[in-house]
């Protein structure tokens, strides 16, 4: 049972920027995470929750003043991860990871983990593309592929239609 107790700390009020999004789809990242609070986390994985629909990686980050804070970062579904070659024993506790993302708007120790890799930058994806060559010159931090974007748009449209009714 989640027992988070949040204490809202007075801080600079950040205005969320919903870029070109009239209606947000599932998870509404723009509603949950703060684009004005970017972060980069480096540290060992101290806990993993293998849950459906999202696995949660708990990472112990060392702050600038030497103190340590444990952050939670969201990942894919068990079946999705399995297809990427990641199962519950793939990432042993203590594995060093690097995560860049944005902090939750409620200032809790949660981030959206837009890019989670091992400490050497190697992706956690261990599946094979089966084709050999990656996309030349592609920026891996770009948005979704064309097919994924179609799905995102369809989900967004379906939710916006629902909410309009």
């Amino acid at each position: 049972m989640n027992n988070l107790k949040r204490t809202c700390v007075a801080a600079l009020c950040a205005v969320p920027v919903l870029v070109g999004v009239k209606a947000s789809a599932h998870h509404a990242f723009g509603a949950e995470f703060d684009p004005n609070r970017p972060l980069i986390l480096r540290g060992p994985v101290v806990k993993i929750e293998w849950t459906n629909p999202h696995a949660w990686f708990h990472i112990e980050h060392t702050n600038e003043d030497g103190t340590k804070t444990v952050w939670m970062v969201e990942a894919g579904t068990p079946n999705t991860l399995l297809r990427r070659g990641i199962h519950r024993n793939s990432v042993p506790i203590g594995t060093q990871v690097v995560v860049d993302g944005y902090q939750s708007k409620d200032l809790s120790m949660r981030a959206n983990g837009r890019n989670m890799t091992f400490a050497n930058g190697q992706t956690m994806f261990m599946g094979s593309s089966g084709t050999g060559a990656p996309r030349d010159g592609a920026d891996p931090t770009e948005g979704a592929t064309a097919d994924e974007q179609k799905k995102l748009d369809a989900a967004k449209e379906a939710d916006s239609e629902k909410e309009k009714e």
């Binding site: 700390v9 007075a10 801080a11 009020c13 920027v17 999004v21 209606a23 947000s24 599932h26 998870h27 509404a28 990242f29 723009g30 509603a31 995470f33 684009p35 004005n36 970017p38 980069i40 849950t51 459906n52 629909p53 969201e74 990942a75 894919g76 579904t77 068990p78 999705t80 399995l82 297809r83 690097v98 860049d100 939750s104 708007k105 409620d106 809790s108 837009r114 890799t117 190697q122 992706t123 994806f125 990656p134 996309r135 891996p140 931090t141 948005g143 979704a144 592929t145 064309a146 097919d147 994924e148 995102l152 989900a155 967004k156 379906a158 939710d159 916006s160 629902k162 909410e163 009714e165």
Partner: protein
């Protein structure tokens, strides 16, 4: 079979003619069983003779709901293969190695659009929307919709158009305007309570009409499980563990009884399971429809690994005529994992907690400003 008895019966010794008759009898039985097997095919069946649809299925497909661009009805095998390769490439590229010494992303957002909402989110690590186009009878349809023949939804009624225009005029997130109560909120709507969030955020039902009906392929969690008994068929959707119960040869609930997934009754037409669903609420999973929608689904086995899922939707409040779609569900060894949605719903905390924080900051700022 008539047994000839002539002359004296010698105990313990079969006559030749009896052996021949026996041989023919055995051959006849073998032929009958063989013929029956050909007639029934290699489709698994229950003891009552009905096709067995039970099993786990992966319903993900990259084939779009509506036909896009070209008016071709089918892809060539080469195009289908190219699509699969492109999807695999995209997956690899989206999961490419990163700079280990990278810095935090930029303040103000990373510019990502769609559901990623400027902070990034759904990259390859997350999504499982399908790896290839589905195939039926050796062909690759270019859309799930097959009727109208254009592969696109039918014309929308004028009444429906007016409703959408009215909702659009409200503007903002989900058509909800900031009514002034949350004066501090710069966005379109105050996040004052969970009920302003969509069903998936509340762990009530999945998005993308994944449970429907009709049931569509979506961003992830595309697994389904069918459990079939003579009296009921249960269809479990992985996302938010939505479970539809079909009452075989039943009658619909009264008109004033409305159900989240509608009210489903089923019956067999030869080897096809037909499911009719009515009695929807005002917010059906298939969001374009209304409470008066009627969905007829047809489940049949293409072979022991594939179920053909066909559906017809009619809603006189929305479309000028019914439309039909279909796609293939592939049997899978991957299970439907338990769906601990509420237990892991940290997103709701972040969304509502974030709104409360912004409200507090705005109030403190207003108090400080008025004190100047």
């Amino acid at each position: 079979m008539r047994t000839e008895r002539t002359g004296t019966h010698r105990p313990g010794h079969f006559r030749l003619i009896t052996w021949i008759q026996l041989a023919f009898a055995v051959a006849a039985v073998v032929l009958i069983v063989y013929a029956a097997d050909i007639a029934w095919g290699d489709i698994p069946r229950l003891s009552d003779g009905k096709p067995d649809l039970s099993g786990y299925y992966d319903t993900a497909t990259i084939t779009p709901f509506e036909r896009r661009g070209s008016s071709e009805e089918f892809l060539s095998a080469e195009q289908a293969e190219q699509n699969a390769r492109r999807t695999a490439l995209g997956l690899a590229a989206g999961s490419a190695n990163q700079d280990p010494d990278r810095e935090a992303p930029p303040v103000g957002g990373d510019g990502s659009g769609g559901a990623a909402g400027n902070v990034g989110g759904y990259d390859s690590f997350w999504v499982d929307p399908g790896e290839n186009n589905f195939k039926i009878d050796g062909k690759y349809p270019t859309s799930i919709i097959i009727d109208p023949p254009s592969g696109r939804l039918p014309e929308v009624t004028e009444a429906a158009r007016e409703r959408r225009r009215a909702a659009f005029r409200l503007g903002g997130d989900y058509g909800r305007r900031n009514d002034g109560t949350a004066w501090w909120y710069p966005g379109p709507g105050p996040y004052d309570n969970p009920e302003v969030r969509p069903y998936p955020d509340r762990c009530l039902s999945g998005f993308g009409s994944t449970a429907g009906p009709p049931m569509l392929s979506t961003l992830y969690n595309n697994h389904k499980r069918i459990v079939q008994t003579p009296g009921h068929v249960m269809i479990l959707t992985e996302m938010v563990h939505d479970a539809r119960i079909v009452r075989m040869n039943g009658e619909h609930a009264p008109d004033d009884v409305r159900r989240w997934f509608g009210d489903s009754i089923g019956w067999w037409e030869d080897d096809t399971l037909v499911v009719e669903t009515t009695n929807f609420t005002d917010r059906p999973n298939f969001a374009r429809g209304t409470r008066d929608m009627r969905v007829v689904e047809r489940f049949s086995r293409l072979d022991e690994d594939t179920v053909l899922y066909n559906f017809t939707v009619e809603d006189p409040n929305v479309w000028e005529r019914p439309f039909t779609g279909q796609y293939a569900w592939q049997q899978t060894d991957e299970p439907v994992y338990e769906y601990a949605c509420h237990e892991g719903n940290y997103s709701m905390f972040g969304i509502l907690g974030g709104a409360r924080r912004m409200e507090r900051e705005a109030m403190e700022k207003a108090a400080a400003d008025s004190g100047d």
